[in-house]
Structure formats: structure tokens, C-alpha cells
Amino acid sequence: MTTTATLEEGASAATAYAEDFEHFTAEHRGEPAFLSSLRHAAFDRFVALGFPTTDQEDWRFTNVAPIARGRFHRAAGLPKVSAEAVRQHFHPDSHRLVFLDGVFAPEFSELSALPSGVRVQSFGEVLRTEPGRLEGVFARHARFEEHPFVALSTAFASDGAVVEMARGALLEKPLQLLYLGTASETVRVSYPRNLVRAGEASQLTLIETYASLAERASWSAPVTEIWTGSGAVVDHYKLQKESTAAFHTATLQFYQERSSNLFSHSISVGGALVRNDVNAVLDGEGAECTLNGLYVLRGSQFLDNHMRVDHSKPHCSSFELFKGILDEKARAVFNGRIFVAKGAQKTDAKQSSRNLLLSRQALVNANPQLEIFADDVKCTHGSTVGQLDEEAIFYLRSRGIGEDAARSLLIYAFAADIVERLKPEALRHEVEEFLFHRLPKGEVVRQAV
């Protein structure tokens, strides 16, 4: 028995989406020509690429056959949910857009207090009212030619967030984009599409939350495109805590102009099969990006973080720190590609992947890829895979701390390095609470940190 789809199976699985695309095209008949031709081109590309197989270098460790074999359905309208259950995922003191199975839910959203120069709408609303605004913006940086799921998203994108920050605009409170999978009896697919344009010297904090209201299978395939104008500062966070039966394939596409600063933190604790493609293009001198991540996996969870940073111009910096905690039979991939273009002198690129394996069956593949075509650069990468330090455990125990608590304390300390960097308090608190609940004797840890 083989669990890997062949190329042919991958292609035929793709054609199964053709019928739905026909429905979708009919539903979106009024769209401007640039959009429908973009969607058709993207869908054709998806069919041509098919579902990836492990024969392909970028998917070598990531077997998406369970997604290719699945039958998923887009939500037709807003599902019924318990308001209380939805609210549990709210960050207080934030602006908020809420989506249920990928569909914008205005009654849970909160955009009443946006300052001037900040425009936030649902993608669906923009499609209905001013689709022309998307021309030359939508799918500009997230290229679908080489990525089947970006192609699929481009074909089916119908909801998400559109954020425009005027020159110098400042959004002080975070904007939370909350994507919730519901207890729908039908297995859902959603293609959240977020477009952020942070104008010159603007500043915002964006939090993407992906969660499930029930332990159901689903597939979310979000694409987030963020453009940072000169001198803009964007704090981006993504918390993926969906059901352990969920599939999640996400692309984060960052495009940075001169002297802009982007901090992106990706926390992944949910999902059965998760693939994150994170691409940053530093295309203006002095641009800087920080891409950090933490994943905490167990059972048979699988996560692939596929990073690519393009240093296109001189004097840019990129810093990547990813930490993973894997228990039981969990598996993770870290693929970190750094590309330094000819002429991108004085590039400073650091990449570090650190993993803690808590069981003998847990597995990590870490693969740094440096392609450097400039000669005056500083590029470093490092990767570690290790276990808990037994000497440290004994030391803690010898002071009266129980074995479970000692282990949990050390695991927490390993994660804290990333958790402490989460600036929005509500998010940091949420991740801390997750760890206290996940770790044995978490109450001792809670008290000790």
C-alpha cells in the first residue's frame, strides 16, 4: 500500500475541483474582466500543477495525499454557531474581522473605532462594491505560477480582509482576523485571502487566528499578502490552533520596500497536516524582516515550515528563529532558503532552527538552503535537534521540583524564547495558557514563570 499520490493521481484530484470552479464562476458572474481572467488563469495553472507529490523537491517530506483524496465543500452562507463559542477566541481591545468557514460574519466583527487613514473591509465586500480596487494588487506578490495552493486560492478567493494604511497612518490596537471552522456536517474548505497594503511610514499590528469550534476535518488554504511601503512597520502574528483533524496550507507573502520593518511570528499548535510557505522579498535598501516561529506538536501531527527570504537589494537584514517541540509521533520540516541577489551587498541574514524532541518517534527534517550571489554579505544558519537536558532535570528535582514539573519547566523555557517576543498581550497570554494546559504539571510552570 502506498500513501503517496502519484503525479497522475495528483492531477486527477485537481480536475475534481473543476466542477466547483464552474459553480464559483457562475456565482461571480458580474466580476470585472481582469478578475475573471486572473481566476481562470490561476485555475488552469492549478490543474496543470496538480496536487504536489513527494517527488517534487519542495514537497519531498510533505505528503498532501490526504488532502488530494479528500472531498471538501465551500460554505454557501453563514453557518449557525454559538456566539459564546466564537467570543472565546476574541482578543479584547482589538479591531476584529470574524469569518466562519471562510465567510465574513459581520455580527461578530468590530471595526467601529478605526482611526483615519486606516481602511479595513472584508474581501467579499470589496469584491461586491469596488472590485476595481483589486486590480494590480490582488495576486501581485503571491505568485500562483509555481504553487498549486496559491493558484487554487487565487481562483476561489471570495473572502478575507483588505487592509489599506494611508501614508503615516497608525493603527494602535491590533487588528485580529479570526477564522473559525464550525461544526458543519459537510467537510469544509476555505480560501481566506488577506491583502494588506501598509503605506509609507504607516504602522499596524495584524493577528491572524485560525481555530476550530469542533474537532472536525476541514481544509483551510489561506493566502496573506502584505506589502510594506517605505519606512512602514508591520507586526504580523499568525496563530494556528485548529482541530487536530484539520488540514492547513498557508502562504504568507511579504514584499518590503526601502527601510520598512516587518516582524512576523507564526505559532502552530493545531492541525493534522500543516504547510506554511513564508516568503519575504526585501526589495528596498535597509529593509528588515524578522520571521519567528514556534510549533508544539504531538500525536501524529505534521508541520512543514517552508521559508524563503529574497535579499534583492543591499543593506537588508533578515532574522529567522524557529523553535519546535515535538512529542509522540509528530513530525516537522523546516526548510529555510535564503537567496541573496547579485549586488545585494551588506546583506545580513541569520537563520536558526531549534527543535526539542520529547519522544523517540518524533522526527524533524531541517534543511537550510543558502544561495548567495553577492560577495560582501553576512549569512549564518544553524539547526539543532535535541532532547531535554537530563542534568538540568536532576538539578531541578534535587531542589524539590517533581520530575514532570521539571520537564515541563524546561520545555516551557525552551518555548518562552519565542513566546516572550509576542508583543500583543492577549496573544501572548493565549499561547502561555495553551502551554500551561498542554504541559504536565502546567500549574507548577504557571507559578514558576
Binding site: Y395, R399, L409, Q447, A448
Partner: protein, 254 residues
Amino acid sequence: MLEIRDLKVSIDDKAILKGIDLTIRPGEVHAIMGPNGSGKSTLAQVMAGKEDYQVTDGSIRFLGQDLTELDPEDRAREGLFLAFQYPVEIPGVSNTYFLKAALNAIRKHRGLPEIDAVDFLSLVRQKMKLVKMDEALLHRPVNEGFSGGEKKRNEIFHMAVLEPRLAVLDETDSGLDIDALKIVADGVNALRSPDRSFLVITHYQRLLNFIVPDFVHVLLNGRIVRSGGKELALELEEKGYSWLEEEVAASATA
């Protein structure tokens, strides 16, 4: 307080301790001296419950309990403390918070309520003075980036906060300059009381000028070959270990 009878310990089938007898009563300070490789640190680690060692024979009774039956944390909760020869650096775990968790684990075991943050802070401040510790070290991760002397002082600080019944100091003096040595010794002396005992393991007599022991034992090749009062330490200082080694060899062949 502590009764060790005919204790034999191996690591990887190699015998390290070959029959130790030692009795420590409440309030007493015992010193164990011996050359490198005599088994001093093994004794300390076995008492604290390090799993790498196998107790092949004999017994360790602490406050009437068989110590070898207890997990390391339960030994600590019963009142045993080991000041490590090489304190471990633990990145990411704050020195203070860790100590609070340890203290509360011990208090809980004894049926006492958890200490609140305010009381804990004033306790910590008071104990810090004892070892003249820089307050900055409280907020740093446990031992991370501490100098050798700071690590040793931190051990004594932990001991002062946890208030054990029996403290084992494993070469706490090694690598310390005379000023640091005095600080450590002052810290220990301040904690001496009629119901608290100490086992001071050292290579050098120097520490014993400052922590004056009631008994001195010489450990050679896994056995206590001589016990006496504090004057035994001075004799060792003068003559070295070789005269005892020769005596032991002579009596073995006799």
C-alpha cells in the same frame, strides 16, 4: 539524622564506594576529605538520588527513612539539600521563579500553604544578603552566565531559602578566592543550628578554617580510612594524603 551503613556503589559495574559507614546527628558538621577520584562526589550524588549510580549494597537512612527508596525531589522535600560541585545552567528558567516553585513544592509536601509573592520576595531579599548576592542574579536564568563564584554563592542562596535539615556541600570551595570563600562560609555558618546538619565535602583543608567541623573523615579509594576531630584536617594539610595511603597499603598487606 543520617545513617549510612556499609554503602557500596557502582557505576557501569565499576565499584566506586566500597563500604561506607557514616552517622550524622542533628546539629553536627561533618567534613569528608579525600584526593580526586576517592569517591567524594559519588557519595554526594548518590545521596541526592542521581540515577546513573547503582547502590549494590548497604543502606542510607535519613530521618528514619530509607533514602534510596525516594525520588530525588522527595529527598529534597524531606529536607536534604545538595550544593552541586558544578551547578547546572538552565537557560530560560528564572532563578527566583524556579526557587519559588521549589520552595512551594517543599512546603506543600510538609502540609504548609504556598508562600505568597510578597512574603517570598522579602524572604529572598533577606537570604540574598546572607551571601552578598547581586540582586541582578535573581532575575537572570538559573546560573546562566554566572561566574564560578556566583554559581557557588547561588547554591548557598538556594540552601538558605529552602532551609534543609541536612545540607551536603560538594566541593563548594573549589575555585573560590578567599573573599568568596569567606562569603560562602559565613552563609553556611549563619545557617548552623541545633537541628540542621552539614556534610562538607572538600579537597582542601582551607574551607574548614571557616566552617569548623565537628568531625573529619578521610575517604580513600571508596572507603573511609580515618575519622577524627577538626585536628585531623590540619594533620592532612601538613602531611598530605600519602601518609594515609601508605598506612592503608601497609595494613592491607599486614
